[in-house]
């Protein structure tokens, strides 16, 4: 069930108001046509108001019926759940001592006091006899409908005739056409129920807070019906107690007397559900009853007003008027509004209500004309007419005689899954016609009124679009209507594209629309082709027919079945025959097999790769998780969103508009997870006395980390093995790390990340991807990573970390920090990136370089370190090698020499010539990098020198990380030379998630406090924003 449908269900269950329009349909109406202020002069129970608010419109809701106004107000006003609960509890406590004994019975099983949930009565209203009761026993948990003994019967007869002690309404029933068995509202209840209802109402009346009082009055009125002796009755289905085609105020010969407190509590539960859902969707709605406050910016105005007055006052500002007038003066909800409103002492004047039942169409035309007079020409109007409404029969004539033309039309489908329909297609009268009207449109004349379903078939949501298309495709229909019909058919993510198409293409789309998957594939392939062309690659399909960039040009003849050649074998070859990229779509079968086959055939050459094209970014991210990606070996992932965004850059004229409409990547959805990581290795780097350590982890729980982000880890191992079993409290107390000197977690950036499907470290060097395609392709998410840390003399945490051993498990949280969007940065046109790292600060930059290299960006790396020796360490032979080192020596020792940073950078495809090293003390550089790239002194000085020597820096971005003084110096240099610089800030942290405000640094963007949180807004900042100390 969709979210909207869920929400609608909750709203509908909170009260019994008639004719609630489905939220799904309403959102479609408001979503397409609304920006600004929606005016609903017949607001009813407020469902359209909720829909409009969900579409971020401001709303004026008025109605002549005070009950409607009351219900709308309570529905849209945000309420605190605990306060509601508290108010309810206080009422229950107050009423229970009086009401509890009234329904008391004896449990037939255990003999304790039990409660009657309801009692069944038979006979006339005045002299009925109780025949059975549903007894609920809290002790033996019995819940049973059982006949009553003579004694109990006598007791019940007596108890039901109680006299109310508090106020209750004694209004007369105003019925227009159908009679009621009793003349007054209060006679619809038994004496007992009425007296308890009166107590509950009095208790609600004593609540202090007016808004929570109203909320509980809403619940109270909602429970009134089930507390009464009435029953819904439908002429068509006399056996059913459900359905809204009921005769009003009908008391059946066999009837229930429900326990008021139970009914009230049940209604309260449904109301709470409704409020919880609404709070989540519309938390910040301000509801006002003053026009001035609405004009000041409150979201909703709710007030009792005649529609004509409402149009006069709000018509000039409204951008959309939603008209769903009552169809008759004698409709059920008028009567019931009075029944409910009597308790709230509301005055009713139904004679003044507008309704359509007079001259055929005449009044509808009048309504439209007066709306047109009151509103601006740009204002749209939605006219919704109930099928019972006689005005619907002549709505076309009415619209034709008004200044409006039909922009769109459709049905609100009442998905009423009551017992009678049993999930069968909706009955015809369960839908309601709506017209979206606009004054600028005239092309659909009443003559082309859409045909409704032919040969008696009932439409449902699936067949409905087809019916509409059939109706529109009459010989002389206009292109615009054709286009709109097609828009209905193609999936959401293709809508924007369709709007770019020519009429002839729309016609083709019509043919293809039935086979959406094919349309989707052809779209994707066109985009891929465009990207490949940019890199002078060529797209070939398996049947050697070139797929043209035109969006809907498919190989002919069009077959009914999805052709397997297009789907399965969209093979793309580069200019040199051996590099091949295979594209697949998620709906295809046997994906994992195919991917495996490709990687097997390729056998470590990295010339053939498989790409999975997914419809949305969210779906793609799901597939990229480590577990899922394991089935997609050495595969890449692409989302249609991104393909589209990049294509817009390539072929400007045709796809320019598309880039504006693409959604932003939803990267922020990644949540911070708590997970344990297994230590693979913990090595000292740079010799025995050096303070540097490299720690390698395997962590399947890490959910997608991007450069710049970091993790926070415990400094000692977890004493428990973990697992999913909930920890017992005794275990927890013992597992708490009492012996450790440290208390908090420590933050670390990621040095290197490793991807599950690329076993070899050097795939980036070997992999040849067309650049523009690489920009949209994503790898699987990493599952192993290194951190690089320095042990300081006063660093107790890092000292403890050096004790970590292989296979030990450490608890950590991550990924932390904002997601710096490297792709977006590269898309802005960056050719070269400089990274400047001081000491341990280089570590997170290596991870950054890894990502940049993947996108095909050139990198220059500047490393600052005390001595060259500090870079050297011994690496186990099982670690893959990248350089032609001394193999024999390595074999003999079981280890080989490696250089931190330099080797890591070379793994990612950075050549030694692009690496610059500066040392504090002169030392021997050896063969590591070219001699001219080595210098003694500060790394910032080396960078300055580089910038002075190289003048081309318009498409250059730099990143720096290291000691504050170094970053400050680099920041000054970058400013002088006009290079955009980002810095990765480091601060002492306590929480890592942005609550403790301890890791702040002073920035120009820090708002009123002048501080930004490194862990939340950072750690990547634009250097210009930082106010250096």
């Amino acid at each position: 069930m969709s979210l909207d449908a869920k929400l609608f269900n909750r709203i509908a269950r909170s009260h019994m108001y008639w004719g609630r329009k489905p939220l799904v349909g309403l959102r479609q109406v408001f979503g397409k046509n609304t920006k600004g202020i929606v005016l609903d002069p017949f607001c009813g129970a407020g469902t359209p108001i909720v829909a409009a608010l969900l579409e971020r419109a401001r709303v004026v809701a008025t109605d002549l019926n005070p009950m409607s106004v009351f219900m709308t107000r309570v529905l849209v006003r945000p309420l605190s759940i605990p306060v509601l609960q508290g108010a309810f509890d206080s009422i229950f406590k107050e009423v229970f001592p009086k009401a509890g004994p009234a329904y008391r019975m004896t449990c037939p099983k255990c003999g304790n006091a039990a409660t009657a949930d309801y009692i069944l009565w038979k006979g006339s209203v005045q002299s009925g006899i109780p025949i059975a009761a549903k007894v609920e026993c809290p002790y033996c948990e019995l819940s049973d409908l059982r006949p009553l003994s003579t004694q109990e019967e006598k007791h019940q007869r007596h108890a039901s005739k109680a006299k109310p002690q508090s106020w209750y309404p004694d209004n007369t029933i105003h019925t227009v056409s159908r009679g009621a068995p009793v003349p007054n509202h209060y006679q619809l209840f038994t004496g007992r129920n009425l007296s308890i209802l009166a107590e509950v109402f009095a208790s609600i009346d004593r609540l202090e807070s007016p808004i929570y009082k109203e909320a509980l009055q809403y619940v109270f009125t909602a429970s009134l019906y089930s507390c009464s002796q009435m029953q819904m009755f439908s002429k068509k289905h006399p056996a059913s107690s459900q359905g809204w085609a009921a005769l009003r105020f009908y008391i059946p010969p066999l009837r229930k007397e429900t326990n008021v407190l139970h009914a009230f509590a049940r209604r309260f539960e449904t109301f709470l559900c409704c409020k919880e859902a609404l709070n989540a969707e519309l938390p910040a709605t301000r509801v006002t009853q003053k026009i001035s406050e609405f004009m000041d910016g409150a979201e909703v105005f709710v007030g009792k007003m005649d529609w004509a007055e409402s149009l006069k006052v709000f018509g000039p500002v409204a951008t959309h008027v939603f008209l769903d007038p009552p169809y008759n003066i004698d409709i059920d909800y008028f009567g019931f509004s009075e029944f409910w409103g009597a308790w709230l002492r509301m005055p009713f004047d139904f004679k003044a209500e507008w309704h359509a039942r007079t001259v055929r169409g005449g009044r509808t035309a009048d309504l439209l004309n007066r709306t047109a007079q009151a509103t601006s020409p740009a204002c749209r109007v939605t006219l919704a007419l109930n099928p019972k409404n006689p005005a619907e029969w002549d709505s076309d004539t009415a619209i034709a005689s008004s200044p409006y033309g039909i922009l769109d039309t459709g049905y609100f489908l009442y998905n009423n899954s009551s017992k009678r329909t049993k999930g069968k297609p909706n009955l015809l009268h369960h839908r309601e016609r709506y017209y979206i009207l606009d004054r600028s449109i005239h092309f659909i004349s009443p003559a082309t009124k859409p045909t409704t379903c032919s040969h008696g078939e009932r439409p449902n949501e699936a067949t409905y679009p087809y019916l509409r298309v059939m109706a529109y495709f009459k010989p002389h229909s206009k292109a615009e209507s054709l286009r709109q019909a097609v828009l209905q058919l193609v999936p959401n993510h293709l809508h924007n594209l369709c709007q770019q198409l020519e009429d002839s293409e729309v016609n083709k789309a019509r043919d293809n629309a039935a086979r959406n998957m094919r349309t989707y594939c052809s779209f994707c392939l066109s985009f891929v082709n465009l990207l490949l062309q940019r890199d002078q690659w060529q797209l070939i399909s398996a049947n050697n027919r070139q797929v043209e960039p035109g969006a809907f040009d498919l190989p002919k003849p069009v077959r009914t079945q999805i052709p397997s050649d297009l789907m399965a074998a969209a093979v793309f070859a580069s200019r040199d025959e051996t590099n091949q990229i295979y594209f697949y779509f998620p709906e295809q079968a046997g994906l994992a097999m195919k991917a495996k086959k490709i990687s097997k055939r390729d056998s470590g050459q990295y010339k053939q790769i498989a790409v999975l094209v997914l419809p949305s970014r969210a779906k793609m991210d799901k597939c990229r998780s480590v577990t899922r990606a394991a089935n997609w070996r050495r595969g890449f992932f692409v989302s249609l969103d991104e393909l589209r965004a990049h294509c817009a850059e390539v072929v400007t004229e045709k796809y320019q508009m598309l880039s504006c409409t693409t959604t932003k990547p939803t990267g922020s959805g990644n949540k911070i997870a708590t997970f344990t990581a297994e230590v693979k290795k913990n090595d000292q780097v740079g010799g025995k006395d050096a303070p540097y350590w490299k720690l390698q982890f395997k962590a399947s729980g890490l959910t997608g980390i991007v450069p710049g982000q970091f993790i926070m880890m415990d400094t000692v191992k977890r004493k428990l093995s973990g697992g999913t079993r909930p920890m017992r409290w005794r275990e927890f107390t013992t597992s708490f790390k009492g012996s450790s000197k440290t208390y908090l977690k420590r933050p670390f950036g990621i040095h290197r990340a490793f991807y599950p499907n690329f076993e070899e470290r050097d795939y980036l060097c070997r992999l040849k991807l067309p650049r523009f395609l690489a920009m949209v392709m994503h790898t699987a998410l990493p599952n192993a990573f290194d951190i690089f840390y320095k042990v300081l003399p006063n660093g107790e945490g890092t000292k403890e970390m050096t004790e970590l051993k292989r296979r030990e498990r450490v608890k950590m949280i991550g990924p932390l920090g904002s997601r710096f969007d490297i792709r977006a940065m590269v898309n802005e046109g960056v050719d070269e990136v400089h990274v400047i790292g001081g000491g341990v600060g280089m570590a997170p930059l290596v991870f950054l370089v890894q990502s940049l290299r993947y996108l095909g960006v050139r990198v220059k790396a500047f490393i600052g370190i005390q001595t060259i020796g500090l870079l050297k360490y011994q690496e186990g032979l099982n670690a893959p090698r990248t350089r032609g080192d001394d193999i024999d020596k390595g074999f003999a020792a079981g280890v080989r020499d490696a250089n931190i940073y330099v080797d890591d950078l070379e793994d990612t495809g950075v050549t030694p010539g692009e690496i610059f090293v500066s040392c504090d003390k002169p030392s021997d550089i050896g063969q590591l990098i070219p001699r001219q790239n080595y210098a003694t002194g500060f790394v910032s000085e080396r960078y300055k020198q580089y910038l002075m020597e190289n003048y081309r820096r318009d498409k250059v971005v730099a990143f720096a990380c290291g000691p504050t003084l170094m970053m400050k110096a680099v920041s000054d240099i970058a400013k002088q030379h006009g290079v955009r610089l980002y810095v990765l800030m480091e601060k002492r942290m306590a929480c890592g998630i942005g609550v403790c405000l301890s890791c702040v640094c002073r920035t120009t963007t820090g708002g009123s406090s002048g501080y930004s949180r490194v862990c939340k807004e950072g750690p990547v900042f634009n250097a210009n924003e930082i106010l250096w100390p």
């Binding site: 508290g86 002492r988 929480c991 009123s1008 406090s1009």
Partner: protein, 321 residues
């Protein structure tokens, strides 16, 4: 449905569990939701206490703001916040969806401003989201209105009165006391005279740390407030003392919220047995992101195995001396 053994009553607030967030350690709104275990955390909470709010925006103290000590944490954040108007506009609506009682922590540097702040919150909280105000008369890190209010019982009384004056009756007042006093019962009695509904104790202890490698204090503000397991014995003592010596606390007319160094369910039980009705958890959350759900299940297991409920063991240590 199984019986909820953890439910407690804080005046008119019914809490599903006795666990509260401690002010300043769980953000103002929304931060929890970035966590993967947000749902478990929120369902383990009895109420949510926001970070301190002041009338005007506050910059907070200079860096460095926190430093770890053995089993503790020294902080001097200095009440950084964006002011009450921004709070009401941006944060309050977000708090609605927590489905928890919301307690707003308030600070000011004069008695009048406390009154104005409380009035402002009441006036602008149109949906009546706020269920309680926690009066912070004990922050050690601000120069005026913090701990110096909290050590003077008459001042505490005045502040509580000023806050209560414009308040709706269904909102509870909580007074957060400082441990930086010789006798905790004095300010507690002052707060009760002022009409506070609930007491919460303790705020952080004043402390400092010096960097011997640099020869200067670590913290930018030089001194800070100490929290974490290090201060738990002090907190337990102060709750115990209040419960013993203040009659209103003894007969549970003024319930106590115990705060300070709670990181396991045993710690929470210590506070409860000393006389606290509910407990606040702060620093431990930084260390263990699952701390709320862990403590909740710990308490549940305790109550189930001892066949008791939290309400029954409040202050039990006094009976079994």
């Amino acid at each position: 449905m199984a019986m909820n053994r953890l439910a407690v009553q804080l005046k008119n607030l019914s809490l599903l569990t006795p666990l509260l967030t401690a002010s300043g350690t769980s953000g103002t709104s929304g931060e929890i939701e970035n966590l993967e275990n947000a749902e478990q955390t929120l369902s383990s909470l009895g109420a949510f206490v926001t970070k301190g709010v002041t009338m005007e925006p506050r910059k907070g103290n200079p860096e460095l703001r926190v430093i770890e000590t053995r089993t503790g944490l020294l902080n001097s954040i200095g009440l950084q916040n964006s002011g009450v108007s921004a709070f009401v506009k941006n944060e309050l609506p977000k708090l609605l969806k927590y489905k928890l009682p919301i307690i707003v922590n308030i600070s000011a540097d004069s008695v009048e401003k406390f009154g104005i702040l409380s009035g402002y919150l009441m006036e602008h909280d149109t949906s009546e989201v706020i269920n309680g105000l926690e009066i912070n008369v004990s922050c050690p890190n601000i120069c005026a209105g913090g701990v110096e209010f909290g050590v003077d019982p008459r001042m505490v009384e005045k502040v509580v009165k000023a806050v209560r004056k414009p308040m709706r009756k269904n909102v509870v007042t909580i007074t957060k006391l400082t441990p930086n006093v010789t006798d905790i019962t004095q300010p507690a009695k002052g707060a009760i005279m002022g009409g506070t509904d609930i007491l919460s104790m303790i705020n952080t202890l004043r402390g400092m740390a010096i960097n011997v490698y640099a020869g200067k204090p670590y913290l930018g503000n030089e001194t800070g407030g100490l929290s974490g397991p290090a201060i738990k014995p002090i907190g337990v003592y102060m709750v115990y003392e209040c419960f013993r010596s203040v009659p209103e606390c003894r007969d549970k007319r003024v319930p106590i919220i115990g705060i300070g160094g709670i990181s396991t369910s045993d710690d929470a039980l210590e506070y409860i047995m000393a006389g606290a009705t509910a407990v606040g958890i702060g620093t431990a959350w930084f260390v263990n992101a699952d701390v709320f759900s862990d403590i909740r299940s710990g308490l549940e297991n305790y109550c189930a195995s001892a066949k008791t409920t939290i309400i029954d063991i409040i202050g039990i240590a006094h009976e079994r001396r």
